[in-house]
């Protein structure tokens, strides 16, 4: 019944009982898939490196972008991502333990470990969804110039980032969201940012405590802070108010940064999600005793390979997106 088990006593090459490289058919195919998937991810990460090296002096600094932890206010660079990494490594460990339990034909242990693996994966996917939501929402807001560059704002006395709402003036204007009921022929308009460009510009002019921070990274490895005079000159180029991030523009800096973030972490998140689904299927198969009847738990091992691969990819994504 099972083609992956060599039942033939003749171990000759053409007899069908041959196991090339000492691995079963299914395991070998899983490895082929993983190698090709590794090349796909490498392509993504290498193209991220390409764009980053191209704009090496203006690329956003990850520490300043990912500073949030759920349920806590304040500035915590990287702690949450580190937590996510740990969760994924931990669920990798429970997966190996499930594989190990499977080898020893210990059904109940395998069930418990598979369950823990699924929980770990679910926490990770949830965390990533939260990261995305925070990233899309943004926190300080910024101005885009005519050249498509991002200008951020800093309080001169404390050196902290200033949100648009901290200094923008409220000017009377007739800006309204275009709604369905007002148009005979309705096109969805872009939703309006909280402030107009004019309100931000006037706010900057009347508030001497606000300085502009450009995208350019100085020799100290920090973003360049303009003086008050330079800020007032620079703001003349203001074109748009940017809050949060989408695929076209983002308040953190280079547009490509958000594009790659969505694409690479999204693709990885999709892998984790499908991994969780596959783990759930295997989990129920173990409960139903499918592998007990089959006589071996190799299926758990094959799915385990996929799960570890997802962890492996995250190790690289973590380094190149958040650390380097």
């Amino acid at each position: 019944m099972d083609s992956t088990v060599a039942t033939s006593t003749e171990e000759n090459v053409w007899g069908g009982g041959n196991r090339p490289l000492g691995a079963s058919y299914g395991k070998l195919m899983m490895w082929f898939f993983l190698v090709s998937d590794a090349l796909t991810f490498s392509g993504f990460l290498a193209s991220y490196g390409f764009s980053r090296f191209k704009f090496i002096e203006t690329w956003p600094i990850a520490d300043e972008v990912f500073t949030h932890v759920p349920f806590f206010h304040g500035n915590f660079p990287m702690y949450y991502v580190a937590f996510m990494t740990f969760i994924l490594i931990m669920s990798s460990v429970t997966m190996v333990l499930a594989v190990d339990a499977g080898h020893k034909m210990m059904k109940n242990k395998a069930i418990i470990y598979m369950f823990l693996t699924i929980i770990g994966g679910a926490i990770f996917v949830g965390s990533q969804a939260w990261e995305w939501a925070t990233f899309i929402k943004g926190d300080y807001g910024a101005i885009e110039t005519k050249g498509g560059r991002i200008l951020q704002f800093v309080k001169a006395d404390t050196g902290e980032r200033a949100a648009l709402s901290d200094f923008s003036k409220t000017l009377p204007s007739e800006r309204v969201d275009h709604e369905n009921k007002n148009g005979v022929w309705f096109y969805q308009g872009e939703s309006l940012p909280s402030y107009t460009v004019n309100e931000v510009v006037e706010g900057l002019k009347s508030n001497p405590n606000i300085l502009i921070r450009t995208e350019t990274i100085n020799s100290e490895g920090e973003k360049t802070l303009l003086t008050r005079e330079e800020s007032l000159t620079k703001i003349k180029n203001a074109e748009l108010v940017v809050e949060g991030a989408n695929l076209v523009r983002n308040e953190y800096g280079s547009r490509l940064f958000a594009d790659f973030f969505f694409f690479i972490t999204g693709f990885h998140g999709f892998h984790v999600f499908s991994g969780v689904i596959i783990n759930i299927i295997i989990f129920f198969n173990i409960i139903l005793g499918t592998y007990e009847r089959r006589g071996h738990y190799e299926m758990v091992e094959k799915v385990g390979l996929y799960w570890h691969f997802v962890d492996l990819v995250w190790v690289f994504v973590f380094t190149f997106f958040y650390l380097v």
Binding site: V35, A46, G49, K54, L97, G147
Partner: protein, 127 residues
């Protein structure tokens, strides 16, 4: 050879009594490496940021090397590559390494060239 596990890491420096014990040992090691990475990422020691090697900060070199160390132990111990035949191991490991090294080399060189065109060329883009 699924049932025969090699139970030593660091070239035999640490030997484990069972496969389960080895898994926990590797977890501790990976956690320590991650903790070091995060600590360095937050503190960003000045010496490592200022000094560069082959055009990249020493800090970034450390991150990349630690990442490869982590990848090695995930592949070797969690994915059981240590227990597979060496021919299978080499086919899996060297194929991507060769292709990816080439891809990275060619893309990063090209990107650096474009960076210089933007910098020295007569095109204004940062305004």
């Amino acid at each position: 050879m699924a049932h025969a596990h090699k139970l030593e890491i660091f070239r035999g420096l640490i030997k484990f009594k069972s496969n389960t014990q080895k898994i926990w040992g590797v977890l501790i090691f990976l956690s320590i490496v991650t903790a070091i990475e995060v600590a360095l990422g937050i503190s960003k020691p000045h010496i490592l940021v200022v000094n560069t090697f082959l055009g990249m900060k020493l800090l970034n070199w450390i991150f990349i090397i630690l990442t490869l160390v982590k990848a090695y132990y995930i592949a070797w111990d969690f994915m059981h590559l240590r227990d597979e035949k060496s021919s299978l191991r080499r086919a899996i490991v060297w194929t991507p390494i060769f292709l990816v090294a080439y891809l990275i080399f060619i893309l990063l060189f090209e990107a650096d060239y474009i960076y210089n065109v933007f910098k020295d060329g007569y095109v204004t883009w940062n305004f």
